[in-house]
Structures are given as C-alpha cells and as structure tokens.
C-alpha cells in the first residue's frame, strides 16, 4: 500500500466548554496526515498540535478504536460517523478525504443527549431505556442446559443481526425527530425472536417505549434515515417487530 499524505486539511470543530455555556465552531489547519490513518488518529495529531501550543485539546469520546464499543460519536460533514458506510468514526479512514478538504465535525444533536464538552455528549438515556426492560429476567444459576431448547437457524441469525447494535446513538442523531426507535427495536426484536426472551416480549416493549417517550426522544415517521447511517446496518424491519409487540401489550391492557 502506497502511503499517500494529505498535506493540508482544514477542520471546523464544535467547541463547547460545558453543558451550560454556548458552543461555537473553531477552525484549525492540520498538515501531513497519512491516508492510512484513521479519522481519530488525525484528531490525535491535532490534539498533540494544540498541546504543543499550550491550548486545550478537542474533547471527543473514543475507546476501542475497532468499531465495536460504540463510544465514538460525532457528526462528520453532515453524517453520523462520517462519509463512509457501515463504519464508526474510529473505522473511518483518511483515504475518504481529499487533499485540501475542509471537514466539519460536530457532536450528536439530540435533546436527550446533552453536550458534556466539545464533541462529547451524555448518552445515559440509552442506558435508562435498557434498564427499563432490555433483558431476560433470569438470575445467575438454575437455568436449563443450553441445548434444551432448539432455536431455528433463521431466528438465531436474525436475532444476531439485531443484537449487533452498539448503542452509539447514530440513529437518534440522524433522525429528524430524534427518535430512538431503531435502538429500542434492536433489543426488543432480538429478545422477541428467541424463546428465552419471548416470554416477556410484550411487557418489555411496553416499558421500554414508555421510558423512551419519558426521556424526550421523538416518534418514528419511517423515513429510514437511521438504518442508512447505522454503522451496523440494523434494519428498520426490527421497528415493525417492535410495533407488533407494543400492540400486543396494548391489547392486553
């Protein structure tokens, strides 16, 4: 692989001291970035540059840097996780950008995810939704043998598709209504597809949707933008399954 170097890039980055202060865009110039570097490695270079100038680095969330922990959360050039498909920001590489490009970087813009600092937002609302029912109600120990209930390959595979959600928040950040429906649907659908989770599927759907509404996420109007930007390509078909489970719960009431 030939290593192509981007000599000049301009970065417009959202800077915000904390939740209480107003933020604004700051412009930075950065040089000599390898196209083989990841987007976050480019930000590392910027931050080292800022430290050398005795300025405060840009705060951004990141951890595993291999696309699975779901920590990195930023809007790059108008797209959640930037201009590549099926990637998180940490897996976005600089070969997606051209020499001389101006890149705009913002935090998730969702009312239920307030900005903590710069590009870092508080996504604990997603944890709260899962706390309301995103599990099977079993304790450790005393469970049946793993092979006692066969599960069809199709159902296991579809459950796995849903279960691959990384909880990054790109769906809500992309949705014009700031809806968390794809996130909620992924968990509800995964568990409803499996016999272990089916038992409490309707109750689960009801309590998770109620929590989602309470936390101020918007409703779903089926634009499908969420699945386009989802780094794990989670399908909106899971939203249909969530709606079915939700209706079942309503009929029971």
């Amino acid at each position: 692989m030939a290593d192509i170097i981007l000599k000049n890039l301009t970065l417009k980055i959202w800077r915000q001291k904390n939740a209480k202060t107003k933020g604004k865009f700051e412009t930075y110039k950065i040089h000599n970035i390898s196209q083989g570097s990841s987007f976050l490695e480019m930000l590392d270079v910027l931050n080292e540059q800022l430290v050398s100038e005795n300025k405060e680095p840009v705060a951004f969330d990141h951890d595993c840097r291999e696309g699975i922990c779901g920590t990195c959360s930023m809007f790059v050039d108008g797209h959640a996780h930037g201009p590549d498909t099926e990637v998180t920001t940490c897996q976005l590489h600089m070969r997606k950008f051209n020499e001389g490009a101006t890149i705009t970087i913002e935090p998730w813009r969702v009312g239920a995810f307030p900005v903590i600092k710069d590009l870092i937002v508080d996504r604990s609302a997603y944890d709260k939704i899962l706390q309301a029912g995103g599990y099977t109600s079993v304790n450790t120990g005393g469970v049946p043998d793993a092979n006692s209930i066969p599960i069809s390959n199709d159902n296991a595979e579809e459950a796995m598709d849903a279960a691959s959600c990384i909880g990054c928040g790109a769906c809500a950040a992309t949705c014009k209504n700031s809806s968390a429906m794809l996130f909620v649907a992924a968990k509800v659908s995964q568990l409803a597809l499996l016999p272990q989770g089916k038992i409490e599927a309707a109750r689960r759907a009801k309590s998770m949707v109620a929590k989602m509404d309470e936390l101020g996420f918007g409703g779903c109007t089926n634009t499908g933008a969420c699945q386009m930007e989802c780094p794990k390509s989670i399908s909106i078909e899971h939203i249909a399954r969530l709606n079915r489970e939700f209706l079942k719960a309503k009929f029971k009431d």
Binding site: M1, V45, D63, C64, T140
Partner: protein
C-alpha cells in the same frame, strides 16, 4: 510477611476440591446480605457478571467504569468465542481435557486447582448465556454450533459470529440493568478509581475521580472487587482500548496486594500490521480465522523483497513457492498452534527477511484455499464482519487478496495475585478476570479469556466473597468522613496536582509512546538479560523526564482527558519497571515469555522447571525502594509438565 496461603483445599482430589471448598466456606444469610455493600471496579465480563450476580443475591453493589456506559468495557471487542467442555461435538472433550489443554497451553505456569475449577464451571456459563438470550451460532437443527481454536484438539468454542465478546458483555450488562432498575446496583459511569481505601487493614472503599466534573469522590463498602482488566497498554500500541489502564490495580499493589507474574504478556499472532507513526492502536483479527486461513511467507527471498517494494502481487506466487511455515513446523496442529508459538514463528520468518509488507513486518493469512473448497458464501457467513473490518482499515479486499498480519500485544496473563477465593493479599480486596494472574499461566489459549471472566463473575466470586463477608455482618455501613478517607483523598489530590503543576513541554502521549518503544524493543517478543537491564535504565530516564517535562493543559477540576492520561502513564512507567525486573528474574522461556538465553535447538521456548516452577509475587516496599520477590511454588500432581509440543 507471613507465609502466604493460597487456600486451596489440600486433601480432596483435584476434581473434588471446588465442591469441597464451597461446602466449607462461610455463607451470608439473605437478611444480612442487604446490609453489606460491595464496590466493583470495572464492568467488563468479569465485573459486569459479578455485579449482577452479587446484586441478585441481595448485596448492595456499586459499579465504577471510566466509560460512559458499562456496555462499552473492552470485553466487547473479543471476537472469536468462548470455550466450554460441553462435548456437544462428540469429539471426546471433557472437563479434564479442557483443564489439561489450558494448563499445557499456559506452559505449566498456572495452578492445577484453579484451572480445573475453571474447566468445571465452563459449561454453566454457556447455559447462563443462552438463558440471557445471547444469539450464539446454531446449526440447522437448532442446536449450538462450535468452532476450533488454537491449542486444542477438539472443537469446543461457542461463538456469535465474530462478536462473541460483545454479545456476552451485553448479556451481563442486561443482567446489570435489571438490577439497576431494581435499585440493587448503583452504576457510576465516567468515574475512574484511583485509590483503594484501607481501614484497619481491610479494603473499605475507593476514591474515584468523576471524569465529568474533575472532582474526587469517596465511596465506602465492606469489600472491593477489582475487575479492571489488563495492562497491555503499557506498550502504548496494543489491541486494548485507548482507556484501558492499570491504575486501580497498581494502587492495590501499593497498598499491599502482591503482583503476580507481571512479565507474562500475550502477543497475539493475527493483528493488522502497524501502518505508520500516527498509529494509535492495533486491531486484532480473530484467531478463529486460523480455522480456515493458511499462514505463509514466500520461500524465495527475492519474492519477499519484491513484495516489500510493492512490485509483486502475492496471488502471483505459486503454491510451490509459498512456505506454509506453521504447517511445515507443526504438522499436528498446523495453523492452529497456540498464540505464543504462532507469534514467535511469524517473528522468526520476518527477522529472517521474509516479511511481506514495506516494513518487512507482516506475513500472509490466506483464504484462497478455503474459498475454493467451501465457497465465498460460507466464508462470508463465518467471518463476514472481520473481512469487512479488514477492508475498511487496509483498503484491501481479503476475499481476493491474502490478509497481512503481524503479532501485537493483546492480553496480560499476569496481574494481582489472588488466593483460591480470588482475594488478594489485602483482606476484603478481590481481583477477577484479566486483572488477576490466576488461570492462564504463561500463555492464554484463545477463547479462554471470556470463559475466565464469566467463571469468576458468575460462579466463583459470588460464593467465595461470602466467606469473607460472613465475618463482617456486624460491621455497620462504612462511613467516608473518616481520617482514612481524608488521607486517601488528599494523597490523590496531591499526586494529580503535582503532575498538573509540572508545566513542562511534553504531552502525556509523548511519554506513553516513548515507553511503548522501550517495552516493545526490550520486553516484547524476545527478551534477554542485557536488553532488560538496558530497559530498566531507559525506563528510569523516561520516568525522570516525565516528572520534569510533563505538560498537562486544561483545567484541573474539569473534564480533562490530558490529566487522566498523565495519571495512567505515571502508573504504566512504574509498572514497566516491575515487568522488566520480573522478566530479568525469570531466566527461562515459557509461554509468551521468551528469554533468548533459553531456547531449544529448533527454536522453541525452553522451560526450566527445576528453577522456575513458581509464580512470582512482587511485594511493594515503598517509593524509591526495590520491590521484594516472593514465590509460590507450583506443584503438578495430575499432569506431568513436559516440553510442550505441537508438532
């Protein structure tokens, strides 16, 4: 210090020890459990499963993680699978075979009783995970599927595509969420534990820095569980997440917990090679790929040189000119030799000049043969997400071109020394998962980290912690407005303030990278006495430079990632020294620890059981004092340590 007791029951036979032990340790009644508080540091597979299980039992649990959610702990990145001795494949697996292969894989540097217990509880883990709704891979008949992993002669690895760690972690995160919803767990996210508070010789709480406000906070409990993971980031470049650190464990060491086998580090053979100076971390390609991929380098040096210059397409090299060196050297295990063996073999080929990328530090992992045999669809189903990840990082399509891979730091077998109850040498302080030293000896087999983390958290600690807590039922809730907490908070405040006030010119990352280079060059895949002595000198120089020229920008009491990094790097520098001392002491090769002075004629690790069949246990003696080496002798009554052979 008095003689250290590992608390392994002596009289029962190996297969009866755990049952016997459980029957004879203390138990806390349900009415008393709710009066007892437990702090769990870290929410990965070990911490998450422990927190959920302890809360289900009725204890009041607080969890701490530096991430913004427990779900993001780095267990999430484990790809390939989890071992269990289910024998669903009818290939003659058993608890004994899993035990035997694990202890052999660890090059006979782990305790028999611990490893046997691990194998014994492995099956219950799979049952538990299925009950949680984890979508493991299944055959068309609806039953669970298995794949093979390195160092094993049977297929015993359960998996959820290439995302097994993620699915298992989300399982215990779900179990945690259920307890959070019930009020039995209080979850503190974006909190970093910096101090273990000791009261009257027992672990009674922690000082944590709230990473959002930058303020120090105090928390008290009757017992503290360290599940803070490994210390691979001491190398700067590793497969660990960026935030993984040793700080909580290192503070425990300074408070009297012994550190076991610090030099035992796993170097994983199949990682994506380093691309350049801006690299921040390394990405693993699951070991499961070696089920179907064939590892090779060119036979002819001129081909290697052309590959390094980018003048030759690897697909144009004929099979006759390819050296499938693992199959050549290890016909019995072939591409599925254990990680330490595969890593050394890759290094040997590259050092001999047969590397295949511009830096000469890569070998091929080729799926051409598997695709020809099974079809692209089958391979895509097995490894689709890994192939996609590889392509996104390298811009090369692995369906049509061989992957390039090279060894990288992945896991640390060393960690806090614990007894059979998983308690450190500080009463009331436990250590589980990768943070302890216990089960993997000098080399961990693939798909065994997930097994150990969940074994500790679901099925071992919830029993053994009762033995300590049953004697604490009269102890009221721990108050934090005491002199012990005052002093602990002041100590941490002063330590951070001192770093902040250096006002030098170099960032924490600068020092971390410098340290990483020294670690990789002298305490990496090959070590010798001369290099280790040099490393000690270089580490001391980095230490001095750090305390003179560190620059921490930003506000002291605010969210400040630079200050977080500075504290972690300071601890890594101190740990690095201990690793060098340990590697220097152990003048033998075993598992991932390769002393070039101790190698067999055909280049394999040569153990020295007469002189080194022990766990090294390092005791902290104070600042600027040399630590003291204590030894726990390892005895093997059920297996015979022999020269490990995978030929």
């Amino acid at each position: 210090m008095s003689v250290i007791d590992s608390k392994i029951p002596v009289s029962p036979a190996l297969e009866d020890k755990w049952q016997y032990h459980k029957a004879h340790i203390g138990v806390v009644s349900p009415a008393n459990k709710k009066k007892l508080d437990i702090i769990v540091i870290g929410t990965g597979l070990a911490g998450g499963s422990a927190a959920a299980s302890l809360a289900e039992l009725g204890y009041k649990v607080s969890t701490f993680c530096y991430q913004d959610s427990p779900r993001r702990a780095h267990s999430i990145a484990a790809q390939g699978g989890i071992n269990a001795a289910k024998n669903y494949t009818n290939d003659n697996d058993s608890v004994f075979r899993l035990f035997y292969e694990t202890i052999k894989g660890g090059d006979y540097r782990a305790r028999e009783a611990n490893v046997y217990r691990l194998a014994e509880v492995s099956n219950a883990i799979i049952d538990q995970c299925v009950a949680q709704g984890i979508p493991f891979a299944r055959d068309y008949g609806g039953l669970l599927a298995n794949r093979s992993f390195g160092g094993a002669l049977v297929s015993r690895t359960f998996y959820a595509r290439g995302q097994t760690g993620q699915q298992l972690l989300l399982g215990c995160y779900g179990a945690m969420n259920r307890q959070i919803n019930k009020g039995a767990i209080k979850s503190y996210t974006r909190h970093e534990v910096l101090d273990i508070v000791i009261v009257d010789g027992k672990a009674r709480g922690v000082i944590a820095r709230n990473l959002v406000t930058g303020k120090l906070e105090r928390y008290g409990a009757h017992a503290v569980v360290l599940a803070s993971g490994g210390y691979g980031n001491v190398f700067f470049l590793s497969t660990n997440a960026m935030g993984c650190n040793v700080s909580a464990a290192w503070d425990a060491y300074k408070k009297g917990a012994l550190f076991g086998n610090p030099c035992f580090v796993q170097i994983h053979p199949t990682c994506i090679p380093v691309h350049g100076e801006q690299q921040s971390k390394l990405t693993l390609m699951s070991e499961s790929l070696r089920n179907d991929g064939r590892v090779w380098t060119p036979k002819k040096k001129e081909d290697a040189i052309k590959l390094q210059k980018g003048e030759l397409n690897p697909n144009d090299i004929t099979d006759e000119d390819r050296d499938f060196y693992l199959e050549r050297r290890y016909p019995a295990f072939g591409n599925l030799v254990p990680r330490d063996v595969a890593s050394r073999a890759a290094k040997e080929r590259c050092d001999a000049g047969f590397g295949v990328n511009p830096s000469g530090k890569a070998v091929f992992l080729d799926f051409k043969y598997a695709i020809a045999e099974m079809g692209r669809e089958t391979i895509a189903k097995r490894y689709g997400n890994l192939f996609q990840m590889y392509e996104k990082i390298n811009d090369v399509d692995p369906y049509h071109n061989p992957m390039m891979i090279y060894p990288a730091i992945h896991y640390t077998m060393g960690g806090l020394w614990v007894d059979y109850n998983l308690m450190t040498t500080v009463p009331g302080l436990y250590s589980i998962g990768e943070a302890n030293f216990s089960d993997h000896g000098a080399n961990r087999l693939g798909a065994s980290a997930l097994m150990q983390g969940l074994a500790d958290g679901y099925f071992i600690l919830p029993y053994t912690i009762g033995d300590f807590l049953s004697k604490e039922i009269q102890t009221p809730r721990i108050k934090t407005d005491t002199k012990e907490f005052d002093e602990a908070e002041k100590r941490i405040y002063n330590r951070l303030k001192k770093l902040y006030d250096i006002k030098g010119t170099k960032s924490p990352d600068y020092f971390h990278k410098e340290l990483g280079h020294v670690m990789w060059d002298y305490i990496g895949m090959a070590r010798d006495a001369e290099g280790l002595k040099k490393a000690l000198k270089l580490i001391a120089e980095i230490d001095a430079d750090f305390h003179k020229n560190l620059r921490v920008v930003g506000d002291f009491e605010d969210m400040n990632n630079e200050l977080e990094k500075a504290g972690r790097v300071e601890d890594f520098i101190q740990l690095a020294k201990l690793m060098a001392l340990d590697a220097l002491d152990r003048n033998e090769s075993c598992g991932g620890h390769c002393r070039t002075e101790s190698i067999t004629e055909d280049g394999e690790a040569k153990r020295d059981d007469v002189n080194y069949a022990y766990v090294s246990m390092w005791e902290y003696k104070g600042e600027n004092k040399e630590p003291e080496l204590l030894k726990e002798k390892l005895e093997f009554k059920n297996v015979t340590p022999d020269q490990r052979s995978y030929k």
